[in-house]
Symmetry: C2
DNA sequence: TGATAAATGTTTCGACTCGAAACTATTTTA
DNA sequence: TAAAATAGTTTCGAGTCGAAACATTTATCA
């Protein structure tokens, strides 16, 4: 995988001080890692620009975006925490800023008073529609054919699923494709909550997703 | 692209206060964006864990990794700045920390005294070999067949190239596939610098890459 | 040639992010 | 009914970030 080589070079002003460095060349394994990191860097950069009008940080926009895509079982602070891979305190603060900007509102759960649902407001949706995904990224995607885009998505989904499983993280996924999603005589039902699901519901992301 | 729908729900304790929200469902365009963001989140999280032993932040590890993969024309602070999409001051500080941890050393350029080359030390290489790419990510990749992995890389490269072009950013790329890379009777030469390139050189990433 | 502009990099500042830990309130467990 | 678990907030200190001012060196060009 790695090739090792020892090289020499001079250090700054102090003449003839030599440092021995070990140098390795990346195997093909690194390449995919590298590509994802670089795409993520560019995305973060563009996201930062898009958020400047409202003074929103990238991480806050990510949280807002997540909340716009998740279902009613997954719109809590803890779910956002899982999704972003951060700690409770950090996420709590980010959400406070989204709330102060009137992009989300907090709605207490009626059954369990500990739980607060986070609902994206009209202003929040409008902001997302303008900015998310960033325009230049969307443009870059169009260079792929429909088949190529589908293929990319399929393969990345495979990697993501495995990665989520390896890290023991909640496997967020689309309700429709979840093993708890059941078609009954009364319509579509969630096997976990036993609640009825609408055609819109099943298109959203759920934190309880399982295959 | 988007489907709009107006929904109603009750707000917290104040009974019967209704909020009108506009809700939209993501078209397929969002999906690729979403996948990359989520993979990046997981990578950042695992990177954070891996760096704890040395007290290294994710962004510092990314800089170190970049420096281990780039050539002698691209191992400067400004190149790292371009690569990470951050500002000079920020990167300068991150590099100072890498230097204080003896993971890189600074080497003044002999021709242009403004330029400082950043060389990864043996300790730096060893740290990277242990931690980069993160183990669980590497494991997740193995779920792909060789062909699938190749296909994914090819497609993501296409997206990245377009994205870099759209943002007007430096298009980092492997020397070997650059248009300035020339095969002459004396060996391989860089058309920009007119310098000879070794077989090792041409495998590294260059900030002057062009197609 | 000599003044001005441009490029490389550092430092400082204030706003923001992050994890850790302590804390409240509610629900579940035993 | 007491103890444990869950959802969420607040506070603290370390670190990240961009912006701007700065120093040094090199390039431009009149």
């Amino acid at each position: 995988m790695f090739r090792l080589e020892t090289i020499l070079f001079e250090h700054s002003k102090s003449s003839l001080v030599k440092y021995v460095l070990t140098r390795y060349y990346c195997g093909m394994n690194d390449e995919l890692f590298n590509l994802i990191e670089r795409l993520a860097n560019l995305l973060r950069q563009e996201t930062r620009l898009e958020g400047q009008s409202l003074g929103l940080q990238p991480v806050q926009q990510e949280a807002l975006y997540y909340l716009s895509t998740c279902n009613r079982y997954s719109d809590t602070m803890l779910a956002v925490t899982e999704f972003l891979g951060l700690t409770k305190g950090t996420v709590s603060q980010s959400l406070k800023i989204l709330e102060s900007n009137a992009l989300i509102i907090k709605v207490k759960d009626k059954k369990d008073k500990r739980i607060t649902h986070l609902k994206v407001t009209k202003a929040g949706r409008e902001f997302l529609m303008k900015t998310c995904p960033p325009q230049k990224f969307t443009d870059a995607i169009t260079s792929l054919s429909v088949d190529e885009e589908f293929e990319t998505k399929t393969l990345l989904k495979k990697v993501l699923n495995n990665y989520q499983q390896a890290t023991g993280r909640t496997a967020f996924g689309v309700c429709q494709h979840c093993k708890f999603n059941q078609q009954t005589s009364d319509g579509i039902v969630c096997g976990l909550t036993k609640e009825a699901l609408s055609n819109d519901d099943i298109m959203l992301i759920c934190k309880e997703y399982a295959v």
